[in-house]
């Protein structure tokens, strides 16, 4: 018999509690509502503590916690599904789909800039602060779908099913999120750095 509690004791109560802030940040991106986000984080931490003996130590704590958070967020989102499906595609910034980036022939109006070796940014704390601010700037439902995809690691089929958004619209929202973030990082990080 293995003693599952052994791998668990390392990060019990206090450690889990310590991740409250990260979980809250991830939940906020998807729910954009402090009370709701606090609720799902609370439920996640509770579930994690109660299910601690099921944690095998094979997944990282990160994967384990975000996995639980994902289900709690999905539950929360299910309650407001109809609202998302109808709102999402008509959200701010829609209609143009960044048309101004392209000329009438569909070519880049301005050549996208070369970020060189962007990986070096990943070693800088400041970069992640900029990334967070850029994400905060995304329209609500765009941010929500993007977070489900990139933070929770959900595939688009799962996202469609849980939000009631069609696969096409899901693709459109992810494209908008990536484009907005690309432009934001370009301006606030990569652009600023090359000018210097």
């Amino acid at each position: 018999m293995t003693k599952p509690s052994e791998s668990v004791t390392r990060f019990k109560l206090e450690d889990l509690e310590g991740h409250r802030r990260s979980l809250f940040k991830f939940a906020m991106l998807q729910l954009r509502d402090e009370a709701q986000a606090e609720d799902v984080v609370q439920e996640t931490l509770l579930a994690a503590m109660q299910g601690a003996e099921r944690y095998t130590g094979q997944a990282s704590v990160r994967t384990w916690l975000t996995g639980i958070l994902k289900h709690k967020i999905i539950d929360q989102i299910r309650k407001s599904v109809r609202e998302i499906a109808t709102e999402a595609v008509h959200e701010e910034g829609s209609g143009d789909d960044f048309d101004s980036l392209f000329n009438e022939r569909g070519a880049h109006a301005e050549k996208p800039s070369d970020w060189g070796s962007p990986e070096t940014a990943l070693a800088q704390k400041k970069f992640f602060e900029v990334l967070e601010r850029c994400m905060d700037g995304l329209p609500k439902n765009t941010a929500r779908i993007f977070a489900m995809r990139e933070i929770m690691g959900m595939d688009t089929g799962e996202i469609c099913k849980e939000t009631g958004i069609s696969a096409t619209n899901c693709g459109v929202l992810l494209y908008r999120a990536r484009t907005a973030l690309r432009l934001c990082l370009n301006e606030r990080w990569f652009g600023a750095r090359t000018r210097r």
């Binding site: 990260s22 991830f26 996208p112 970020w115 990139e150 992810l174 690309r182």
Partner: protein, 71 residues
């Protein structure tokens, strides 16, 4: 412009979709052809891939920061 070519606008869309689903044969070929010829779109493509990596590192670093703050 031949019907075998996609525009930069279309290539940007397909490039984003490539991160979410397996592209069909035609889309894949069109995208690859376009990228081979267009430096601007290669940059966009690199930026998409960097963004994915940055998001994953951001999640990781948030958790690490939590842990560090507790010490």
């Amino acid at each position: 412009m031949s019907i075998l070519m996609v525009t930069c606008k279309e290539a940007s869309r397909i490039g984003s979709e490539a991160l979410d689903r397996k592209l069909g044969f035609r889309e894949r070929v069109l995208l690859r052809m376009h990228l081979a010829l267009c430096e601007g779109c290669r940059r966009v493509d690199a930026q998409y891939r960097f963004l994915r990596r940055a998001m994953s590192e951001w999640v990781e670093s948030s958790f690490e920061k939590d842990a560090a703050d507790q010490r």
